[in-house]
């Protein structure tokens, strides 16, 4: 089926299966190691890197200005007020956490399903998770108004004789997100140790040898260590899988437990998780496509990866579409006047345009990904990843804002118009994310070298035919 579209002589297509290859042919252990490690160990940082880093750094400065002003004046500089007390802060929180989920999905769930193709992209997908969680975690913290008291969220013995209230989903969030951040960092770092050992051994400068030597904790590739390492990786993957499903479910309970029309629904947990993975895969493509072009990694991040990401997006996008249809159906089937009005208001109210943006970006346009030609076109897939990310941001906007602006009594209705500080903070976190990512691709191995070696055909142990002598013990 696949050979029909792809040219017969294309070296990136496996002649036996007709599938796109995961790694270009002809690579050796040394060549994959060098392709990845030279990006980090080079003494000539590409000029484009400095340019991108400076641009992202500018946005980080903007974030710092926005936060400083926020700490001086309070959350009143944002558009949050009654009835919309959860504005951009929560929209961005949910959006960023969702983006992180694809990283965990790629690194954990696809590992458990033995999807070998994930190996080239799992490291930077995990990095994406961590940086997205950093951006996400910032929002609840600054939204609480007095961020310096943020530690009150945790249970600890204190002189006020006060303890947290464990029946609230907002407190469940604290444990879900902090666990998620911790486990993601640990999984990422443990996975990186063998590669850090490679960098330590290949580094020329004394400083790099010391730096990577410290980080690699003296990894020497003993097979005894490898066995334990593999067990630990599988266990972490097995733990991260239920974790990632629980995190966005818990976040969706922040909404679903409230009695507000448009929020009080049982479809939220699965639909939030699917949406999270959807936007996360889109972000993986948003990052992977420029990186593979800029660093010439087309041999390692191949069309196969982009094609597979497209398929996952298509599948999760359909789950999200099912969630939207369920919302509409239930609004009618519940025969609740409030639910019915909420849906009408969402589609045709003063903010109806945002609902149609979301339907266009998340459901209508992604159907193009059914076409194999579309999925293997790098430029179009990059564009699609941006569209889906926009759509998913609007999904959170619709859920938070249209539901809150018009709840029950018309006398309590309000409106919402984001201020420049809202936009500056959001754009600032986009900058922070990019800034951290630039540091990551420059200083850490963004593709797991040990896992790439494992995928090469010569990595397999072949049976030797000469008979072994009889055991002497």
């Amino acid at each position: 089926m696949a050979t029909k579209d792809a040219p017969v002589n294309n070296p990136m297509v496996d002649p036996v299966t007709g599938e796109y290859r995961v790694i270009a042919p002809g690579h050796t252990f040394k060549s994959v190691t060098e392709t990845v490690s030279r990006i980090v160990l080079t003494s000539h940082t590409p000029i484009g890197w400095f340019f991108g880093f400076a641009l992202a750094g500018g946005f980080v400065m903007m974030l710092l200005v926005a936060l400083t002003w926020l700490f001086l004046k309070g959350p009143g500089i944002w558009a949050v007020t009654i009835p919309v007390a959860w504005g951009f802060a929560i929209i961005n929180f949910v959006w960023w956490i969702g983006i992180g989920h694809a990283g965990t999905l790629i690194s954990a769930i696809l590992l458990l399903f033995k999807q070998g193709w994930r190996n080239s992209i799992n490291r930077f997908a995990e990095a994406m998770t961590i940086f997205a969680v950093v951006c996400a975690g910032l929002f609840p913290l600054i939204h609480i108004g007095r961020p310096w008291l943020g530690y009150w969220l945790f249970p600890y013995p204190n002189s006020m004789d006060y303890w947290p209230q464990f029946r609230s989903p907002l407190l469940w969030d604290v444990f879900a997100v902090s666990t998620y951040a911790t486990i993601s960092v640990v999984f990422w770092y443990i996975g990186m140790i063998p590669d850090l050992g490679t960098l330590r051994d290949r580094a020329q400068s004394k400083f790099a040898q010391f730096f990577y030597g410290l980080l690699s904790v003296g990894w020497r590739g003993s097979v005894r260590h490898w066995v334990r390492y593999e067990t630990a990786s599988l266990l972490l993957a097995g733990l991260a899988t239920p974790l990632v499903l629980s995190v966005h479910s818990v976040i969706s309970l922040d909404f679903a437990v409230a009695l507000l029309p448009g929020w009080h629904t049982t479809i939220f947990p699965p639909y939030f998780v699917a949406g999270a993975i959807y936007s996360g895969f889109a972000m993986v493509l948003t990052l992977a496509i420029p990186i593979r072009t800029f660093y010439h990694l087309e041999d390692l991040i191949t069309i196969r990866h982009i094609d597979n990401c497209g398929k996952v997006m298509l599948a999760t996008g359909m789950v999200v579409a099912y969630g939207y249809s369920t919302e509409v159906f239930m609004a009618w089937y519940s025969a609740s006047h409030w639910e019915y009005f909420m849906m009408w208001n969402r589609m045709f109210g003063p903010m109806g345009w945002s609902y149609w943006v979301l339907i266009t970006c998340n459901i209508a346009l992604p159907q193009l990904m059914w076409l194999r030609k579309f999925r293997s076109n790098v430029g179009l897939m990059f564009l699609m990843s941006l569209i889906v990310n926009t759509g998913m941001w609007f999904e959170r906007f619709v859920i938070v804002v249209t539901s809150l602006t018009r709840d029950y009594l018309p006398s309590s209705w309000g409106t919402y118009r984001a201020t420049k500080w809202d936009y500056a903070t959001f754009a600032g976190t986009l900058g922070l994310f990019t800034f951290l990512f630039f540091l990551f691709v420059r200083f850490l191995p963004m593709i797991p070298m040990s896992e790439l070696r494992l995928m090469l055909p010569q990595a397999k142990v072949k049976e030797k035919h000469e008979p072994l002598p009889e055991a002497g013990d």
């Binding site: 469940w172 666990t179 640990v186 904790v217 334990r228 072994l468 013990d473």
Partner: protein, 180 residues
């Protein structure tokens, strides 16, 4: 404890995982026990060959997870019943279904941390210095593209001359002495 001196072992370098596994099997059959293989990616067959079948990481992970579960569920129960009872919309003080979620998260947190740090501890890491790094060809290949078998001098069967002739019979690229 005085620093050990002298010969740590003999290190043979191989070109392919197949050669390494073959040599490791032979060494195990010849009666060597204190030895290790060093590979740039996980080679399970090599671990099998030197007689390493079981690791305790799973057990550590299980214990950590159970500890996390008990700790958080206990904390929630103690807080809600004794330390700080709050009437939240008339719900019972012992609202165990609500307590499940933080307890679930802490099970995963402590199981994950135990698996990761337990793995490092069982491996004896961090250990920035190790004699195998003294082998002149080790750092060039072990984490990139070469496969090593090291017979250690603490093995009762170890005899420098005999071990060298044994290793050289396995068609390695080279055999070198590793000093402490």
């Amino acid at each position: 404890m005085p620093l050990p001196e002298g010969l740590y072992g003999l290190m043979a370098e191989f070109e392919s995982p197949t050669d390494l596994v073959h040599a490791a099997k032979q060494a195990h059959r010849a009666g060597y026990r204190r030895m290790d293989c060093y590979t740039p990616y996980p080679v399970e067959e090599a671990a099998e060959a030197i007689g390493f079948h079981r690791d305790e990481v799973s057990l550590v992970c299980l214990l950590g997870g159970l500890l996390g579960l008990a700790a958080m569920f206990g904390l929630e129960t103690w807080i809600s019943l004794w330390a700080f009872p709050l009437n939240i919309a008339g719900r019972p003080y012992y609202s165990w279904p609500a307590f499940v979620i933080p307890a679930y998260e802490w099970t995963i947190l402590w199981a994950g941390l135990s698996a990761a740090f337990g793995m490092l501890a069982l491996c004896g890491l961090p250990k920035p210095y190790h004699p195998v790094f003294n082998a002149p060809n080790f750092r060039n290949g072990a984490t990139t593209d070469k496969f090593f078998l090291c017979l250690e001098s603490t093995d009762p069967k170890f005899d420098a001359a005999e071990a060298r002739s044994f290793l050289e019979a396995q068609k390695p690229i080279s055999v070198v002495e590793v000093e402490y």
